[in-house]
C-alpha cells in the first residue's frame, strides 16, 4: 500500500492556529495516513501529541510514532477516510534559522541550532542526523529578507551528502517564483548523483484546504511503523510528490524496457474518473523525453465503490507506457514526472522517484 503523508505542519506551539488536537483531527478528516509535527524551533508539542494520541489509541505506540484514531473534524470535505481510521504522527521540528528553514523528521530530541554558520551549515545537518533525524531543506526559494528573514535558503552548502530531502513543493507558495526553482534544484542535484529524496508540504498554519495540493506518498504496510517506513523511503529516495495519481516505474533489464504504470490514490481534489491525456516526462542530464500515454479503456483505473470513488486504499494500476531503454541514450538516471493535458508545470500531477538505469 501507499501512504499519504503531510510533512510540514504548525500548531499553536509556534505560530499556527490549530492546537495539537485540532491538527490531528484536521489530518484525519482529509484521509491523511501520517502527518509531521514541525513547529518552528520547539518540540513542546511532541509530548502533548503523544498523550493525545495515546488517550484515543487504537494503534500501538512504536518508537517515534503513534498511530491512533482521533475524532473526524466535520466539514473538511473528504469522504474517503484513511487506512483503518488511524492517523500517525511523525515527530519533527522546523529549524527556523537566520539563513534558511531546515525540516527535521523523526526528531527525538532538540538539537541546538543557534550557532548556525552560514558558510558551514553542514554541522547542524549532521548534528540532527546524529540524533537519528531525517534532515531536509524547506521552501528553498521563498521570499526572504527584508520581508521574511530566514525563509529563503541562503546557507552555503557544499556537502550535499548531509541532506536527506528537499521540499520541492511548499503547497501555498507561488508556483513559478518559489516551487519551480525548488523542483529544478532538486532535479539538478539528483541528476548529478546526490541521493536526495523529494518531499512536499502544506506548511500548514491553519485550516487551509488540501484539495488540489501536493502530498508526499511512500510505500508502507497497514500495520507498519511510520517512522521506520519514512526513514526507509527517504534513504532510498522512494518518495512521490503527487496531487492524485502516482507514477510507478520498473526497469526490465532482461527485455530492455522501462515500464510505467499509473496508480490512483483517491486523494481529495483530484478527479480520477476523468481521464485527460497523460504525459510522462523523463528528465535526464542531457534533456527531457516526453511521451503521451495511451490509456486504453481496459487500462483505465477501475472504481470499486458504488459512488464511483475508489476506497482510499484501493490502488489500481495499469501499464501506461513501455519504453525501450535504448531511447534513453545511455542516461544513468532519469526523473519521471506525470502530467495531465500538457507538460506545463501547472499540470504536473506527480514527481516520481528517480530511476537508476544502470
Amino acid at each position: 500500500m501507499y501512504k499519504r503523508l503531510e510533512l510540514h505542519n504548525h500548531t499553536t506551539e509556534s505560530d499556527g492556529s490549530m492546537t495539537c488536537r485540532e491538527l490531528a483531527d484536521y489530518m484525519k478528516g482529509d484521509g491523511v495516513d501520517a502527518f509531521a509535527l514541525t513547529d518552528h524551533n520547539t518540540i513542546s508539542g511532541h509530548e502533548k501529541m503523544r498523550r493525545l494520541l495515546s488517550e484515543t489509541q487504537t494503534g500501538v505506540e512504536a518508537g517515534a510514532q503513534t498511530a491512533v484514531e482521533v475524532g473526524t473534524e466535520s466539514g473538511s470535505g473528504n469522504s474517503h477516510g484513511n487506512h483503518g481510521g488511524q492517523v500517525s504522527c511523525i515527530y519533527g521540528m522546523e529549524y527556523t534559522t537566520y539563513y534558511g528553514h531546515i525540516l527535521c523528521l523523526n526528531l527525538k530530541e532538540y538539537v541546538p541550532w543557534e550557532n548556525i554558520d552560514r558558510q558551514h551549515p553542514e554541522r547542524l545537518f549532521l548534528a540532527a542526523r546524529a540524533k537519528g533525524a531525517l534532515v531536509g531543506v524547506a521552501h528553498p526559494f521563498s521570499l526572504g529578507a527584508p520581508f521574511s528573514k530566514g525563509c529563503r535558503f541562503e546557507m552555503e552548502l557544499t556537502d550535499f551528502a548531509c541532506v536527506d530531502f528537499i521540499e520541492i513543493f511548499n503547497d501555498y507558495e507561488p508556483l513559478h517564483q518559489v516551487n519551480e526553482p525548488g523542483l529544478r534544484w532538486w532535479e539538478e542535484l539528483v541528476l548529478s548523483g546526490h541521493p536526495i529524496a523529494a518531499t512536499c508540504g502544506m506548511d500548514l498554519h491553519g485550516r487551509l484546504p488540501f484539495a488540489g495540493q501536493y502530498a508526499t506518498y511512500i510505500n508502507g504496510r497497514p500495520e507498519g511503523v511510520i517512522a521506520d517506513e519514512l526513514e526507509a523511503a527517504i534513504h532510498s529516495q522512494k518518495t512521490w510528490v503527487s496531487r492524485g495519481p502516482l507514477l510507478l516505474s520498473e526497469v526490465d533489464h532482461q527485455n530492455g524496457l522501462l515500464r510505467f504504470s499509473i496508480l490512483q490514490t483517491g486523494k481529495n481534489g483530484y478527479d480520477f474518473s476523468c481521464h485527460p491525456p497523460y504525459f510522462i516526462e523523463l528528465t535526464a542530464r542531457k534533456g527531457a523525453i516526453i511521451h503521451k500515454v495511451q490509456t486504453p479503456e481496459s487500462h483505465k483505473t477501475e472504481s470499486s465503490s458504488s459512488k464511483g470513488q475508489p476506497p482510499y486504499d484501493a490502488f489500481t494500476a495499469a501499464t501506461a507506457l513501455e519504453l525501450p531503454l535504448e531511447e534513453l541514450h545511455g542516461e544513468g538516471i532519469v526523473i519521471p514526472k506525470l502530467y495531465e493535458a500538457d507538460v506545463t508545470l501547472e499540470n504536473l500531477l506527480c514527481t516520481a522517484p528517480a530511476v537508476l538505469i544502470k
Binding site: 505560530d15 524551533n41 520547539t42 493525545l52 488517550e55 537566520y98 541546538p112 543557534e114 527584508p146
Partner: protein, 184 residues
C-alpha cells in the same frame, strides 16, 4: 520603555494536559503577584544585526515556577523614506522579484518589513521552550504542570537557566529590548 506593547503577565498559559485545554489569558493575577523578579536586563540593537544574545542566570535554589518576559519596540517602520524605498527595491531586484508600484512598495515596507526577534530557554543545557510568534511582548511560563505554548512544563526548576534572544532582523537603529526573569 516607550512603544512597548504591554501584555498580561503569564499570558497564553497551557497546562500539562493533552493539547492545552487552558485558554489564552486564563492565568490568574494570583500567579502574577506570587512571582518575584530575579533578573532584569535591557539593551539596544542596531539596524542590520542578526545573531543571538544569551543571558545565563544561576538559580541559587529550586523554584516551583519560572516566568521569562521579553519585549522590544520599533517592530515596524513608522514612515517610508526615499532611501528605504531604494534599499528595498534593490533587495527585491537581487532576489529576482517583481518591482511593485510605489504605493504597493510603501505598503510592503510599512506592513511587510519587520524587526523579528524570538526567544529560547534552556535549563542545565536542556531545551525547555521556544516562542516563535510575531509578538513584541512574550512570556514563557513554566511550572511542574503548566507551560506557555511552545514551552515544556518543568518538574524542578533549579540549576542554570539560559535565555537566548534570537535576533533575526532589526530594521531600525536604537531598537530597545528588555528581559525579565521572575520566579516563585
Amino acid at each position: 520603555m516607550k512603544e512597548m506593547q504591554e501584555g498580561s503577565l503569564v499570558d497564553g498559559l497551557v497546562d500539562g494536559s493533552v493539547d492545552g485545554s487552558v485558554e489564552l489569558g486564563a492565568a490568574t493575577d494570583g500567579m502574577k503577584t506570587d512571582l518575584k523578579q530575579l533578573y532584569h536586563a535591557d539593551g539596544q540593537l542596531n539596524r542590520g544585526f542578526t545573531g543571538q544574545i544569551s543571558y545565563t542566570v544561576c538559580l541559587e535554589r529550586p523554584y516551583e515556577a519560572l516566568l521569562i518576559r521579553f519585549s522590544f519596540n520599533k517592530q515596524h517602520h513608522e514612515r517610508v523614506t526615499k532611501e528605504l524605498r531604494d534599499e528595498i527595491t534593490n533587495q527585491l531586484l537581487q532576489g529576482g522579484h517583481a518591482i511593485p508600484t510605489v504605493c504597493e512598495l510603501d505598503q510592503m515596507i510599512l506592513s511587510g518589513t519587520k524587526t523579528e526577534i524570538h526567544t529560547l530557554a534552556s535549563l542545565n543545557d536542556v531545551f525547555i521552550g521556544g516562542i516563535h510568534r510575531q509578538l513584541t511582548t512574550r512570556e514563557m511560563y513554566f511550572s511542574y504542570d503548566k507551560a506557555t505554548e511552545g514551552c515544556i512544563p518543568q518538574p524542578c526548576i533549579k540549576g542554570v537557566l539560559k535565555v537566548t534572544v534570537l535576533v533575526f532582523q532589526v530594521i531600525e537603529d536604537g531598537t530597545d529590548y528588555q528581559l525579565q526573569v521572575f520566579v516563585r
